[in-house]
């Protein structure tokens, strides 16, 4: 494992009015691992993901991805630096076909000019062919290649989640942020998803995972970070974290009481 | 100079009233009604039908107009809002614009194109001091704006219904789940929104005359005000309205009257470049 973490966040703070959603979070994600962020509802998991991906900037702090400072960078720049993500509430492009959804992200690093598009010159055809190939590969990985030409909205819910993952993969990311990827999936679908995540990890992508389903997380994560009320309360291997009394109190305990 | 301030504020008060009507609807269902100006026109003509054609006392004309406008608001909701719930904003914009076209041309068919005047509910010689003339009707406009503002503030923050309305605006789905009578709340918002523009129409008709095509430009100014003040922001609407009235009169007087309508838009665009959600910020629940 590369000693330098691919994500280094320091003192990330985010306030919404009077509410402190993230309170000075420090986070290190080593290269090539699957790291999970867990925590009860409203603990700041998605807010942290948004801060990392630039979707909703942190107020203060420093975030480095692959050595680049990305704090307050526009999301598309962060994406082009090799950080891709999926969304908790599915955000596919409803008016595009399945393959076109993926192509949007596949074009991430193939800049083109209007001139090339209008003249449909060799460079344009070349880059479109590249994009097409990348997109098909990404669909292949999540097992949606057979639905490439369908309209994205025609996919069932679970497959829309997979489509989001394929879209994220198409930008050839170093880091993949998955926001509750198994939400709304049944057991078999979840299992397939885990399988996919494992394969992605093996291909060298670092995965940061926000998940509600703790059991699902524990199985595949190398490291787990636990948030509560916008603070990091524990971090480490799944087995360590599971034994941490703070975590049991804050997260598992409360959950159990709910149940 | 003093006279310009008075006339600018009187004009601005009308803009503010249009904006207050827009706000009530926006604050509940997050829809900007581009037919608000035409509702104003309708209010003016209903008032004229009562007071001029049927020679009812002006007070009765006002009462009938307000009731009629409440009904118009509800009909408007059924025709325009219900079928478009949850559809993209530009479809809503276009639908309300289309509704405005329908209202304007129906009014032309019913009342004809001639401008008509409505008697003011207040009479008496104008006040004069230091060369500045303030007519009774202008005072009445200021008073109506103040009362409307206070009532609306009280209604939205202190009454059960107002709070329900705000809750509905925050999250329609949840509001329904927790048992808020959502449809009734929305109906009340549309009814009051229409009544407010009806009042604006009744106030405009005595000084500016009423004609079926009057709604377009007044409605547009109401939106400019809403944009400057920030959509759905109560003080923003009033301050924005008065501000716009002053800008127009002073701009027309000291820069050039040729570009009077441009000042409103130039100020609006300048405000938006500096503050993309208006001077006072938009009061809406942004979901990330």
């Amino acid at each position: 494992m590369n000693p330098e973490p691919i994500i280094t966040a320091r003192g990330v703070t985010r306030r919404f009015g009077g509410l402190v959603a993230l309170d000075g979070i420090d986070l290190d994600v080593p290269r090539g691992v699957v790291q999970a962020i867990i925590g009860p509802n409203g603990s700041g998991k998605t807010t942290l993901l948004n801060a990392l991906s630039g979707a909703s900037h942190a107020d203060t702090g420093s975030i480095r991805v692959g050595g680049h400072e990305i704090f307050r960078l526009k999301p598309y720049r962060i994406a082009r630096l090799g950080l891709a993500r999926t969304f908790q509430n599915i955000r596919i492009f409803e008016n595009l076909s399945v393959i076109e959804n993926v192509k949007v992200a596949a074009a991430c690093n193939s800049p083109t000019s209007l001139f090339n598009i209008l003249t449909a010159n060799a460079r344009h055809r070349h880059s479109e062919a590249d994009i097409d190939r990348n997109a098909r590969e990404a669909l292949e990985i999540v097992g949606l290649a057979h639905r490439a030409n369908d309209r994205a909205t025609q996919l069932p819910y679970a497959q829309q989640r997979l489509l989001e993952i394929a879209r994220a993969l198409a930008s050839k990311p170093n880091v993949l942020l998955l926001d509750e990827p198994a939400a709304g999936m049944n057991m078999t679908e979840s299992m397939t998803l885990l399988d996919t995540i494992a394969r992605l990890k093996n291909s060298g992508i670092t995965i940061l995972l926000v998940e509600h389903n703790v059991r699902l997380v524990m199985g595949i994560s190398d490291r787990v970070t636990v948030l509560d009320f916008g603070k990091k309360i524990a971090e480490g291997a799944p087995s360590e974290v599971q034994r941490n009394p703070l975590v049991i109190e804050a997260y598992l305990g409360r959950r159990h009481r709910h149940a | 100079m003093g006279q310009l301030v008075v006339n600018g504020l009187a004009l601005g008060s009308i803009y503010a009233l249009v904006a207050l009507g827009l706000l009530l609807i926006f604050n509940t269902v997050q829809i900007v009604n581009f037919a608000q100006g035409q509702l104003l026109m309708l209010g003016a003509f209903i008032g004229i039908s009562c007071a001029v054609t049927h020679e009812l006392p002006v007070a009765a004309a006002w009462a009938i107009t307000m009731v009629a406008m409440a009904l118009v608001g509800i009909v408007f909701m059924v025709l325009v809002y219900f079928p478009l719930r949850g559809r993209p904003a530009f479809l809503v914009i276009l639908t309300t614009i289309a509704m405005g076209i329908v209202l304007e041309n129906l009014a032309l068919i019913i009342w004809g194109p001639l401008p008509v005047s409505l008697p003011s509910p207040v009479h008496g010689p104008p006040l004069r001091f230091a060369g500045v003339v303030v007519s009774m009707h202008q005072l009445f406009i200021f008073a109506t704006l103040a009362v409307t503002l206070l009532l609306q503030f009280f209604f939205l923050t202190k009454t059960r219904f107002g709070i329900l309305m705000q809750a509905t605006a925050q999250d329609l789905h949840t509001a329904r789940l927790v048992g808020i009578p959502v449809n009734r709340t929305i109906a009340v918002a549309f009814a009051f929104g229409a009544v407010l523009s009806g009042i604006a129409g009744l106030l405009v008709a005595p000084i500016f005359l009423a004609e079926p095509t009057m709604g377009g430009s007044l409605g547009l100014k109401g939106f400019v005000v809403s944009v400057i003040g920030g959509f759905g922001n109560l003080p923003g609407a009033v301050i924005g309205g008065l501000f716009l009235g002053l800008i127009e009169t002073f701009g027309a007087r000291y820069i050039s009257s040729n570009f009077r309508d441009a000042y409103a838009f130039i100020v609006m665009i300048a405000v938006l470049i500096a503050w993309p959600r208006g001077l006072f910020g938009e009061k809406s629940s942004e979901k990330v």
Binding site: - | L4, G112, P115, F208, L209, M214, A252, N258, D261
Partner: protein
């Protein structure tokens, strides 16, 4: 059929033209017309100029109905096709193209100059007499020999209003206020030029948009710049507001302007104090005359259209009758009608006589009016210099 025959027989047509020139027409020609005789009219019936545009329709249609009720022209009824120009020049052009499909003997255009400008080329190409009321002075300067104007125009007003204000009313420091559309702005420029010639340059030149409601800024500017009079050029709706707000603001200036100041629509919405003393120069209006026949006519127009007849109604009404007398003489050949129109001398209309000039302008007599309370009074007709 016979019309087409006439059209092809150039010699015959020329002979008829000549005969018209010397007013030797014979009634037999009207019998050669198609039955019914197709006439076309395009004017604004919808959109923001509809209030104005319907006056053209009212005038033309009222006359056509009267003529048809009386048996038509030489037994041939008139068939009027009316098309709405809406509010845009593109629509006006479409409307005219459509009218021309029906091969009318004559087309009437509206008083809205941009629409007439848009239409002139196609009408000229179709070689159809084009009778308009468009008030922009340049309308007849387009070089179309088919275009005739039967209403007075801005150029005349731009000369006469300043002249009357300076020479007869003795004012030297006028402020100008004009509606910012083709009507007002064109006139405003002409008036400024005339005032400069009269050595009484305006102290303030202002305008307002047709949809503007608050005129106080402009009025206060004119007052602050110490004007001794106001030249007001607008439509009835906005002229009403200006006069009203002048009175509200306590600004007392000698006001003179176009016919809107004395229009019935304006006066209906003004108090006596607000209207009193306003001067207007413009096309003649029927209301001020005591002739019972004219008063009865304007009453019938008002009853039929719910809108009071104005200067435009009169001029369009006259135009149809002028056309009738021409067709009775020369028949339905379009170029014969054109030539007859160009040769018009002292044709007596309801209020004024028409006389064609080289450009195709037929109306040269205007009225000077003054409001006494809410009642306009005719101070006297005035003729364009040279007539």
């Amino acid at each position: 059929m016979s019309c087409r025959f006439l059209k092809t027989s150039i010699i015959g047509a020329t002979a008829i033209c000549l005969s018209v020139g010397f007013a030797h027409g014979s009634k037999a020609d009207a019998a050669s017309c198609p039955s019914p005789i197709p006439l076309g009219l395009t004017t604004a019936l919808t959109g923001n100029t509809a209030l104005l545009g319907t006056q053209a329709r009212n005038g033309v249609e009222f006359a056509v109905d009267e003529i048809n009720a009386a048996g038509g022209i030489g037994g041939n009824k008139l068939a009027l096709t009316t098309e709405d120009t809406g509010a845009s020049s593109t629509d006006a052009l479409n409307a005219m193209n459509r009218i021309l499909e029906g091969k009318p003997v004559v087309v009437f255009g509206s008083m809205i100059s941009p629409h007439v400008f848009a239409q002139t080329e196609v009408v000229t190409k179709s070689e159809t007499p084009f009778l308009v009321g468009a008030t922009n002075a340049k309308v007849t300067a387009q070089g179309s020999k088919w275009l005739f104007r039967t209403h007075v125009h801005d150029g005349q007003l731009a000369d006469l209003i300043p002249e009357y204000l300076v020479k007869s009313l003795g004012k030297t420091r006028p402020g100008i206020m004009a509606v910012a559309d083709d009507y007002g702005l064109g006139a405003s420029r002409g008036i400024q030029a005339s005032l400069a010639k009269l050595k009484a340059p305006p102290v303030a030149v202002t305008s307002y948009a047709p949809s503007d409601k608050d005129m106080s800024a402009q009025l206060l500017e004119i007052k602050d710049k110490d004007a001794d009079s106001l030249i007001l050029f607008g439509r009835p709706a906005d002229v009403t507001l200006v006069l009203k707000q002048m009175n509200d603001l306590g600004i007392k200036l000698t006001t003179i302007g176009n016919a809107s100041i004395v229009a019935q629509t304006t006066l209906n919405n003004l108090s006596a104090a607000e209207a009193d003393g306003g001067y207007a120069i413009g096309g003649m209006i029927p209301q001020t005359l005591s002739d019972p026949k004219i008063l009865d006519w304007s009453k019938r127009v008002q009853e039929k259209y719910k809108v009071p007849a104005d200067n435009f109604t009169v001029s369009y009404y006259d135009t149809v009758y002028m056309l009738k007398s021409i067709i009775e003489k020369v028949g339905c050949d379009k170029s014969a009608i054109r030539d007859a129109l160009a040769a018009t001398r002292d044709w007596k209309g309801m209020l004024i006589s028409y006389q064609a000039d080289a450009q195709g302008d037929l109306a040269h007599t205007l009225g000077i009016y003054r409001n006494k309370g809410k009642t306009p009074e005719l101070a006297g007709p005035i003729k364009e210099s040279g007539y």
